[in-house]
């Protein structure tokens, strides 16, 4: 079983990488990009008996820093 964890910066937390990507897109001539936020995708290959609660614990303990980041878990 696989799960995907999406880690994104919380609203209101400045994202310098997203900003740089935004500027680069504009520099390439792509118009209409209002904002860019960069995050992380972490794919977990899991044994079948790993619970949702356990994945959530992994996110809180290591995969995301909840001071600045949100996470979303998606079972594949």
């Amino acid at each position: 079983m696989k799960a995907r964890v999406f880690v994104t910066l919380k609203n209101g937390v400045l994202d310098p990488q997203g900003k740089a990507i935004h500027h680069a897109l504009e520099g390439l001539g792509f118009n209409g990009v209002n904002d860019v936020r960069a995050g992380k995708l972490i794919e977990l290959d899991l044994a079948d008996d790993v619970t949702d609660a356990s994945i959530e614990e992994m996110c809180k303990k290591l995969l995301a820093n909840t001071v600045i980041e949100n996470f979303r878990i998606e079972r594949v």
């Binding site: 937390v13 310098p16 900003k19 303990k61 290591l62 995969l63 820093n65 001071v67």
Partner: protein, 220 residues
């Protein structure tokens, strides 16, 4: 005073910090590998050094924060031992929760490596007692993730309790309220991005960092 320096895979300021500790205290620090589950007996001061622990994978300091030795460091901090985290060490201390907030990518994206002006924000702490309140000092920085972030309530608390030990006197990395270093609630843990160990002897061309080590050495 007995000191220890924690060594992670990827630490690169551990020996510089050891030299500064030894110069100040007259005793060689114990170098403690990240897999150790306890610290040597009677350690008064623990240094968490700069570098790129675990290659900065996931987030700077995130993996190091989960290493066995950091449990022992957290226990020592609870018992009132002094803990000094510099640069990557500061990142490790925020990731372990020993200090509030987080250190994010520099606002200007670029790695910043240069001397910066700092203002001393607290001269009462164990770490800063040999500086004057408001004193201007120059200490080098070398980091990619030094942009201090905390929510407004936390920032207000840090300011109100006099826990901003050092503040940048110039724009460096986008840090909230120009914060360069903060103390924990009890004042026995300091995290700072600038490197006082790189400004601690004549050969460095700058000794503004020396007062921090001599203040600590004078405690025990």
């Amino acid at each position: 005073m007995k000191t220890a320096v924690i060594v992670f895979p990827g630490s690169n300021c551990d020996r510089d910090l050891a030299v500064a500790f030894e110069a100040a205290t007259g005793t060689k620090p114990a170098m403690v590998w990240h897999r150790e589950t306890s610290l040597p007996d009677g350690i008064d001061l623990i240094g968490v050094p700069g570098g790129f622990s675990y290659g900065d994978y996931l987030r700077s300091g995130a993996m190091a924060a989960q290493s066995p030795v950091m449990k022992a460091v957290a226990e020592a901090a609870d018992q009132g031992r002094y803990v000094l985290g510099i640069c990557n060490g500061f990142q490790v201390l925020t990731e372990t929760g020993l200090l509030p907030g987080a250190l994010m990518r520099n606002a200007g994206i670029k790695f910043v490596s240069r001397d910066v002006g700092l203002t001393v924000g607290n001269s009462q702490s164990a770490f800063t007692s040999r500086y004057e309140m408001g004193q201007s000092i120059t200490i080098p920085v070398a980091h990619h993730d030094g942009n201090y972030f905390a929510d407004d309530a936390t920032l207000e608390r840090l300011e109100g309790e006099g826990r901003v030990a050092f503040r940048y006197a110039e724009e460096v990395n986008g840090s909230a309220r120009n914060i360069a270093g903060i103390l924990n609630e009890s004042g026995n843990v300091l995290g700072m991005m600038p490197h006082p160990e790189r400004a601690a002897e004549e050969a460095h061309g700058n000794v503004d960092g020396r007062a921090l080590f001599s203040a600590l050495a004078g405690l025990a």
